[in-house]
Amino acid sequence: MTMPTLAVFKLASCDGCQLTLLDCEDELLALAGRVEISHFLEASSTVAAGPYDLVLVEGSVTTAEDAERVREIRACARHLVTIGACATAGGIQALRNFADVDEYRRTVYAHPEYISALATSTPVSAHVDVDFELRGCPIDRRQLLEVITAFLAGRKPDIPSHSVCFECKRRGTVCVTVAHGTPCLGPVTHAGCGALCPAYGRGCYGCFGPSRSVNLPALIPLLRRDGLDEDATERLLHTFNAPAFDKEVSR
């Protein structure tokens, strides 16, 4: 029996999410025994041609070339999984969606004419069909293994889409908002990190983006109550998943 092939590609991103694959240290040998790693530049410069059975894509579409490339990637992928906030929501670079890109270009670069970029940073799903989106900035190692394991077993991955609050309560973390008045995006944020930040006494900053059931307009007054003014609220919501949260604010 031939092993399924795995390929990893990146668009506009920092590489942190695909490095999560290398971070699966204890499981890496077992994984390499189950899939043929055909294209993974962070691990090896030797690449095999597609098509590939499972393709992981990191990063957002920020240039016309990316928009073309993501279609090519889709064409060689039997099963396409996007990983991380850039690929699933546009990433931190999607802050440009709320600003004037030309102004940024003029301010930042000595030779703005060298820079060719789209006016927006968009998730992969805005361009091609995606089979599964794994959230997070960066993604969670256990969740990545779950997605790959589920793919190998031909089943749906067990990636709950409820709030981070579920994870805090399951691990017995005292609610930082109720007990300390700390502003926290946990009630509107997609679970998956294991409620990491509240376990260290800080509020969730939403790096997994909105959960599947979000009532963000109900959270805004609570953030105000807990000391965030309008600017601070906007800053909290405008990080790695800004367009996704923005959609929920105006809902």
Binding site: E27, A30, L31, G33, R34, L145, I148, T149, A150, L152, A153, R155, D158, P160, S161, H162, S163, C165, F166, K169, R170, R171, G172, T173, V174, C175, T177, V178, A179, H180, G181, C184, G186, P187, V188, G201, R212, S213, V214, N215, P217, A218, L219, L222
Partner: protein, 379 residues
């Protein structure tokens, strides 16, 4: 020391000895202790870890630790967890399966983790909550074997309530601050000019044997009457109350109430109320396969009616809106629970009020439904 039948009195050293005696019997002692700015339930190795000198200030969506001058250990309420965290844990393995060399499957049930718990400081509301979960998880045709095993081994030392909080309303759910059944020992904390001590009542033979292992004295009339007085006074100091109407009929007749839209506008659907509720029992199961595909495990984990996947049938969730999910929770808790399990599902502990980040108050919501039903009736 002779065997004690009537009420006894322990001082703080006696309580220390009690925890030591439980530990030396091999029991896992769990009780209240201060951690992360709250009075949590955790494993105790000594009674010195009890929250002596700490109380709480509660409001809807707000919990703050406050120091107490009297040094009391059990003068707090509505902590962030309930005893279900131990009896009905958030995640538990049920069984595993392995592929056999012949190509079949072999199934192995998971032996439940069932330490001999001793719960120290169980409030009367929580005694009632445990009794409700007993009915739900062991009273039907299919027992939750892990729960059943842990529960049967558990020893319950109640602490009667002398300091109800602002979010407490047990009296209006048919309960009260006194422990009347379901305990092995019941403590009532007394702090006055005669010292810091605990009136002890025995509720079982196991409790009597335990009491005999620790230094105590027969209860004097003054301690008994002070303790009774403090518990009686607590009845009248509830911070909140549910309307004194037939809640089953009210909720059953309120399915189309406008109030559900009002609460849905404030509800985050985050699920916190169900997780802190001492009677909410819902779980889902997850199948965990490994990379080889030769080994799989089934785990049970807490779920919530606020999770969209909770009502996922073919083509999606049945309860899509926040309105439908809050209505489901409240209606089940106060009304259809009676049909299913023969009682209400609410003991009035107030946790859902305190630990809702948005401060949604079950008593206020029911009062509003009552008012709306009244308006309807008058039309």
């Amino acid at each position: 020391m002779t065997a004690t039948v009537g009420p006894a009195v322990l001082d703080r050293d006696g309580l220390d000895a009690l925890v030591s005696a439980l530990a030396s019997q091999g029991r896992t002692v769990v009780g209240p202790t201060v951690r992360d700015g709250a009075i949590v339930l955790a494993e105790l190795t000594t009674a010195a870890q009890l929250p002596y000198g700490w109380g709480v200030e509660l409001a809807a969506g707000r919990y703050r630790l406050v120091p107490r001058e009297d040094g009391a250990a059990f003068a707090h309420s509505a902590g962030p967890q309930s005893w279900k965290s131990f009896l009905h844990p958030a995640r538990e393995q049920l069984w595993s399966a392995d592929r056999t060399p012949e190509g079949g499957l072999s199934f192995t049930p998971q032996e439940p983790e069932a330490p001999s718990y001793a719960f120290l400081g169980v409030r009367p509301c929580d005694l009632r909550a445990i009794a409700i979960q007993d009915r739900v998880l062991t009273g039907g045709r299919y027992e939750d074997t892990g729960y059943g095993m842990r529960r049967r081994r558990a020893l319950l030392i109640a602490a009667e309530c002398t300091e109800p909080g602002e979010t407490c309303f047990c009296v209006s759910t048919g309960g009260g601050p006194a422990a009347d059944a379901g305990y092995d020992l019941a403590l009532t904390e007394v702090v006055d000019e005669d010292g810091h001590r605990f009136l002890v009542r025995v509720g079982s033979e196991e409790g009597a044997r335990l009491l005999d292992l620790v230094p105590h004295r027969a209860a004097d009339p003054a301690t008994q009457s002070t303790a009774r007085g403090a518990v009686d006074a607590a009845r009248d100091r509830m911070g909140r109350e549910l309307p004194a109407v037939d809640l089953r009929a009210l909720l059953g007749g309120s399915l189309d109430a406008e109030r559900w839209d009002d609460v849905a506008a404030r509800c985050l659907t985050c699920g916190n109320c169900t997780m802190v509720c001492p009677t909410c029992f819902c779980v889902t199961t997850e199948e965990v396969t490994d990379l080889t595909g030769d080994h799989t495990e089934r785990w049970q984990r807490w779920d919530s009616c606020f999770d969209l996947d909770f009502s996922h049938l073919h083509e999606g969730p049945v309860r899509n809106s926040g309105r439908s999910r809050y209505r489901q929770w409240l209606t089940h808790k106060l009304a259809t629970w009676h049909d299913q399990f023969g009682s209400s599902g609410c003991v009035g502990c107030g946790r859902c009020i305190a630990w809702c980040p948005a401060g949604i108050d079950i008593t206020e919501e029911v009062a509003a439904l009552r008012a709306e039903a009244g308006t309807e009736a008058e039309r």
